[in-house]
Amino acid sequence: MADLHSPAPRAAGPAITGRLPGAARLLAAQVRYQLLLLARNPRAMILSLAFPLLILVLNSTARHDVGPQLETALVAGLATFGLIATAYVSHAIGLVTSRQDGVLRRWRATPLPAWCFFAGKITATALMALASVVIAVAGGITLFHAHVTAGTALSLLVTFTLGALAWAAIGTAVTALIPTAQSAGPVLMLTYIPVILFSGALGSQAGAPPWLSTVTSYLPARPIISGASQALRHSGGGIAFISGRDLAVLAAWAALGVVASFRFFRWDPARPQHPHTPAGAAV
């Protein structure tokens, strides 16, 4: 059709002949990229790394009634607090911010496969979450002389890794309910703080009513704390005991998060409503 308006013929763009980069290389680059973003986010670093350590230090200096039982619960609880702060709060805020800034939309238009973006983001999140656990547990060893054997460490690694993956999956799904980066903090805190407090992150739940224990045992924080507490109390050889029920609850939440993410995740930022279009039509 284009006759008169055709340009002076130019050489067509160079044809791409090379092969697309392989999955391993793409994934490594994505993990590094996401770790950079997390490490350069001061809010994430304070909430995940500094806050649990601060509470541990305050407890070790201000309280003299802390027995060995409470110590392990406190170390396990605060490590879990830091873990979820990274795997859920920082992870989801990062996704919502990237979506709002159009960064996700740009990724969507590149040759990067979607699974590789998520695998990179979730791996980086899990690594950062485990780093926060290492700091909290190291604080526990220093301040409370907690004893960590190789068997304990292995059990902690399994519990915390599964916990991080479960919360990252839930965090990914929850971004569908958060319209803007400004509303991300409040929504995430409101869902995270009650769960973590009632699950005993900041101390024993000995006085809590039985129904509350039952409810929290099905939520994804309590199984991490109880699993980690048991592992920290473990002494002697071999791997510390891991409750199958706790792992099953965490795995179920991880699966729920993954399924909901596939169904509801949005790559495009929410737009202000067009005067002529119905809400959400233009995304």
Partner: protein, 319 residues
């Protein structure tokens, strides 16, 4: 070879039709500008071509592929296109070098990161975080990331909106050097000057319809009128000017300035008057109509007197 093909494209959002039956094709190597007022359907059209939106009716093909395609074929296709979105879309925490290297790693045969950074003029800011850059510099990073994979088709959605004139000119220079290499470009813009500077062809949309599709020169020649400009000599008997011309004289500047709907008649009148009164016509200028005039006459709203002239026909130069 056709790089971009749009056939009877319709996009509805609920009851609102954003794009109504638009068809055009862009041959490989051409730079086409899609021009139109806000709400004309420019961004909806480009987002369908980029694969972000699905058409309600009709079909689009870019490099022969449906842009909605995912999977391996979609991945291979996305390695051949580049895009600058309407708003800046960058990780502010990354440095310029980090962002450029990260994107270079996605493509089979990328440009060297250093080469891209030099091209976008940020050689002195390689280690600067993108969040610390100015709006114009961020837009240049956007462009750098769009072209690092050596795209065959480049989509630029209002690439210079919101930039100051200097930053705009800098970006134009970069785009011009890119398209010299033969990349097909589809550009949406509000700025006539941008279309005139960069494009081989102008597609004008209004209210979701295609109302003109022509080269900038053809468009300019069609929809608007040339301008006669003549600085009258001090001795010229202005009072004797024929009525058709006298109304267009600015007495303070002693200048005749008129848009001429019938150039032959108006010039004839002027020449007769000059011959009769022995007036020297040195300095007489006849300027072609501006693209802006042509565009405004095409897109003028109802009630605008210019509308009547443009409404009845669609400007098209398809042979």
């Amino acid at each position: 070879m056709t790089a971009i093909e749009v056939q009877h494209l319709v996009k509805r959002f609920g009851g609102f039709t954003a794009v109504g039956d638009v068809s055009f094709a862009v041959p490989a190597g051409q730079v086409a500008a899609v021009l139109g007022p806000n709400g004309a359907g420019k961004t909806t059209t480009i987002e369908i071509l980029e694969g972000f939106l699905a058409p309600s009716q009709g079909s689009v093909r870019v490099l022969g592929v449906d842009p909605r395609r995912r999977g391996a074929a979609g991945r291979a296709w996305r390695a051949r296109i580049g895009l600058v979105l309407q708003s800046t879309s960058l990780d502010l925490q990354l440095t310029v070098a980090e962002a450029v290297s990260l994107y270079a790693g996605l493509f089979p045969r990328p440009m060297a990161p250093g080469e891209v950074i030099e091209m976008i003029g940020l050689g002195a800011d390689t280690g600067t975080r993108i969040g610390a850059l100015s709006g114009g510099q961020r837009r240049r990073v956007d462009l750098g990331l769009a072209v690092i994979g050596r795209p065959e088709v480049l989509f630029l959605d209002e690439p210079t909106t919101g930039l100051d004139p200097e930053a705009r000119r800098a970006l134009w220079g970069i785009i011009q050097s890119l398209v010299a290499g033969g990349t097909t470009v589809l550009l949406t813009t509000h700025y006539i000057e941008e279309a005139q500077r960069l494009a081989d062809r102008v597609i004008v949309l209004a209210d979701g319809r295609l109302i003109a599709d022509a080269s900038p020169d053809q468009l300019r020649a069609h929809g608007a009128t040339p301008v006669i400009r003549y600085l009258l000599p001090a001795s010229a008997p202005v009072a004797d000017l024929p009525v058709a011309l006298a109304g267009h004289v600015d007495p303070a500047r002693h200048e005749l300035l008129m848009k001429s709907a019938d150039l032959t008649a108006d010039l004839g009148t002027l020449v007769s008057w000059a011959r009769h009164h022995h007036v020297d016509l040195t300095g007489l200028e006849i300027a072609p109509p501006s693209l802006e005039d042509a565009y405004l006459s095409l897109t003028a709203g109802p009630g605008d007197p210019d509308r009547a002239r443009a409404e009845p026909e669609k400007v098209s130069y398809r042979g």
